[in-house]
């Protein structure tokens, strides 16, 4: 049982899900976002915060014994937007944590750090990056900051390269990339619970039979995902048109992000 878990980006889709699922695991959830969250539950508090504001982030982090960092941009955007939220924002977070007891950080990294690998390639967490977007580049930056703060100060992090976290897989590609909210929740709690977390990359995927990513190195966390996209495979193959073999969504692990242009601000 944690005392106070901070969730950044708590007003977003993922944050909304995790407020529910993390509730039983902490005395208090401190929610933060740039957008107000109106409907606070009994063990929830809200702190408005722009993570590009370093002082504000320091205040935000103080007193927490665990951080789930969802804050920032989560799709392809212009460099200006990504710089503020995903570069400066991540730096601010790690600096704040360093100054306030180094609570463990669950960092929402992304499959878009490696999005240009082909779908018939099986990846290990040690394979070189191949980002498919400025967004993906910013997540590589975040992982690098986490690595630096671990080697230099001992800050512990789980770097969760999330595939697709939705209630259920929605298309052919998600049969490989799906991370169920239940499994994401148990991953977060495993990372908070294991005696020694270190700075560990974890592929954010459920126990999908069709997965592209090898999580065997992270078994020591004690995380055992329970869901499998296979349970949805027949339904999706029946109801969702099969993509052509040369479409980005069937070719690259990052899917349509590889088709995104550079966004101008």
């Amino acid at each position: 049982m944690m005392k106070r878990i901070l969730i950044t980006g708590a007003a977003g889709q993922l944050g909304t899900i995790l407020r529910e699922t993390l509730k039983p695991h902490a005395e208090e959830l401190r929610l933060s976002d740039i957008t107000e969250i109106p409907d606070l539950g009994p063990n929830e508090s809200f702190v408005a915060c722009d993570i590009a504001d370093g002082e504000a982030v320091k205040a935000l982090v103080e007193g927490c014994d665990g951080i789930v960092h969802l804050g920032g941009i989560s799709v392809e955007k212009s460099f200006d937007l990504i710089e503020a939220a995903n570069l400066r924002g991540v730096y601010n977070l790690y600096e704040a944590a360093r100054l306030h007891g180094m609570p463990r950080i669950i960092f929402a990294s992304s499959n878009h750090t490696i999005g240009y690998y082909k779908q018939d390639e099986r990846l290990r967490h040690t394979d070189p990056f191949k980002p498919d977007s400025l967004y993906g580049v910013s997540k590589i930056f975040g992982e690098a900051v986490a690595s630096l703060y671990h080697d230099k100060f001992g800050q512990e992090s789980a770097l969760v390269r999330i595939g697709s976290c939705t209630p259920a897989p929605e298309n052919w590609r998600m049969l490989s990339t799906w991370l169920s909210p239940r499994d994401f929740t148990s991953l977060i709690m495993a990372a908070f619970t294991v005696p020694r977390l270190g700075c560990t990359v974890v592929w954010g995927q459920s126990a999908n039979a069709m997965g592209w990513w090898d999580n065997s190195h992270a078994a020591f966390l004690g995380w055992v995902p329970q869901d499998n996209s296979q349970d949805y495979a027949e339904e999706i193959r029946r109801s969702v048109p099969r993509p052509g073999r040369d479409e980005a969504v069937a070719t690259y692990q990052g899917g349509v992000f590889t088709d995104e242009p550079i966004h101008q601000s």
Copy 2:
């Protein structure tokens, strides 16, 4: 649902099994063999064809949207026989496919491409070949042709290195090599269904606890074998004499093929 699947070598043991199991998955099964098949079912047609005859193979392939290539020699034979059926035959098939829309090809390759590895070695699909017979050499040739046609023309193939495809495992070695007909069928359909097949080697084995071969690279196909030789292990250990540790069948992955001489024509 496929329109027309061509099965070459359809009169053989494997072909006879697959006619049954593939029936629900195609509007028509086009069966081909050098031997006549008398008992055609309602959605089956038969085309007599010697696969060493290039023109005949072109006619055979036209109009199919998927090919299961079982045709050719499947045990050790003289070079003359293997040359016609397994060298020239495979070339003919890929040329025919190239000319007729490049339907996906499921190529029945074999564990005899790597038969001289010891049974205590675990293999990845990228390990170098170690053929145990001219037959095994011919399957390496076939895989090489498939690779060429993929890189040069985009032809997609599944190169299934079949262990032992029989209704049930029959001896100690098959506890490692068994591929149930049910699993072979689901593998074929997975290869026909996946949006992008590429040119993918798959070890043709069920989910055997004792398996020697690592199929993790092929998870993206969405193939989940259901059978496990372990269910037959006790029975086989009781009823089949244990081979001596220095017999070929207990030493090499290719088993008794390593004991075969060169057959003279």
Copy 3:
């Protein structure tokens, strides 16, 4: 069914367990220890033996068709004690086996051969040693003797790097290292049963979700562990205090052995 299995170190904790579980698998269990075993069962015999005594070991081994070698020191001790029991003792055993028909040997090796690896490292059996104690060094010696006798004389061995063999996992670390007595027994019998054993390293762990060690290379043995420490995880997390992240027991695979000094005799 074996004729006569020799268990050395049979009076110890592991030996006492295996007397029970191996009973159904052999016509006779020949038990040996430096300490007398009083309560022999109907198919048990006892031979008092100091394994540092080469002639006595030769007499002990004669007539056995399988050996489970638990004898020797199993914790950190002074060099003098380890030398006699774990260096000279292992040499004596392999010499005795060589002279008496080379019955297969199940050698109780240990995770302390690699105890200085961190707990967030996943190991393959081919990774270099990193012993955490003179005890661990002595087990490396034993594995080296087994390798020599295999390559030179054909002696077959299973080198079982035991994690923690207790009725149930007892602390946080054992969630990774636990080997249930049931699984150890089935491993022993698999090694006696497989047509060709060779000289095979096996990580002595149950099917623990949190395991650190990759046993995929040993699938050919047909050993399928049935137990999983995960079934005990909730209970342990509730009832056993979580170790600090910098304690040896949470840092190194060998746990507290890394904290042991050199024992003086």
Copy 4:
């Protein structure tokens, strides 16, 4: 012979060296820096430019057929400074290149991307990053941008992880990390000359016998470094005090950067 090579950061130490050595290889050197360069040679031109200014960088890049990007911060500094010059600056450069014909870019990356590896570890270019500073993190960012622009647009880059580029090695660590100006120059020209550069990581080191980094993957560039720190080893061992084995400069590949605190702006 190149038409116009752009050197960013041309007023710095490295830039000053390369102005000399690159002179014979281009009709014109376009020099750029935030600091004025007074003493222009006959085939040199100067453009004052803050690389954090996107529009200015576009103008700067236009008309060049090769870029040597030395601009930005080259030691540990506060995040504010690094963000402007090394994050935004690199983005600006690649955007400008994309809009102006994609001239090849020689990107001055750094050993500080991997500075936390120990000096007794030999690295391949595919090993995961281990940055030792915010500066090192910013170079990882730059490599990620280069990778993105290559996979998405075909932009070619050489990512040169420079060790220590000085006229001669100056201390014990530089016996491993030294890159002579002559070798850096020939590397730049090899990258401009090879028919296909792709996006290639190169360790920026001379042919030092004591090197930590494996450049064998980059042999295709045709770069053959001529200098070897070994020629200076005796002199350095005699004249420079040997560092203690636990000092950062003797422990980590990044040397004293690992001792740097986070700089506050």
Copy 5:
């Protein structure tokens, strides 16, 4: 000093070179080709032979204590031609050798077995094949036959994947692929001389600084190539137009073979 070396394909370009360079190393050179060789030297004999004729090949091989197998097709041709000369021909040669004392065979394999790898990939001899032509496929077949005859009968071979064997490198690609006649000769003699040859793949390249292929595994042969394409690099860069980066000759290791269509007979 060998007694009698057989050179097949002796009338070809390579054969003509090797007649000169091998002359000092054998009492007799037995030359064979489908084309007559008129100008025999004093220690040369000629045997006309179509290697597709099994009986003729047996007669040819008898009495030789070493074979340099250059015979067959050496560029892309129709399947019919390749089948006769490079499939059946190789089989005939190994059968003949098996029946006549198993003299060592130097088999002229080719870089076209791996021609579809990109030029920025460094290969080991164990990397999977990627043929670029039917010719390349036929060389894979040849290597597979050699492997079979080694594992089954003990026949020793050097499988020399020749790059480009010409008096001097002639274009940009050959800076990587060149094998000087002098180095090819010393390789042949090293393979005949080493006490144990086994069945060893060797990349047929001189000591080119720009080489793509790692020959370190074959150091045991004692072959030390003396030539380096680097000596010709400046001249070629000056006199031969640089290929465009997207031309096959600059993209793939197999160069223009990847552009070849399937030849019809």
Copy 6:
């Protein structure tokens, strides 16, 4: 310049050589052996010592700032002899060093730790052991002790797996295994000189073109061997009969040690 180097086993063949070559590098050479050394030079002292005697070894080590440990058995012998000198002896040495300031230890390990690898296999220092003799087993034990004392106490060692250290290579196998006295000496001094030695395995071979062992990981030591067996190759091939391909000396890296029986005491 070292103050006092201890050479154990100084009366042996290797010790006699190193007394000469190490003389210029230390103010004093402390020589030790079980056999008296009569002809002491001006900067040499002699201490008679049986390394199986722990107290004597402690006295021996005191006051030394570097140890070259050649003492013990260096060929195959009975277990009794090896146990005293190579098991207990090594333990005594490391205990003594631990108590006396942990001077660096150059441990004469051996190729016989991996003697059962074939000669056509290229080894990395991380490959699993394959000892060919009890002697080889004892050297594995020594390396394990060194590893333990490094991880537990920080003791630094160079583990030199010596091939064949003789003035010149004497037979075909030594073309691969030769270590010239000059190169051994420079290796010892490099290990004493490098700021951080750690616990590093080094293959004890000169810069032999025919070497089997990859020393690239140890480049950081700054050791650059100067000799190459190639200079002796022609002479040896002319004057020493070529071994048959199935003789141990041509098959296994450990050569004739694989033919040694177990010696009885």
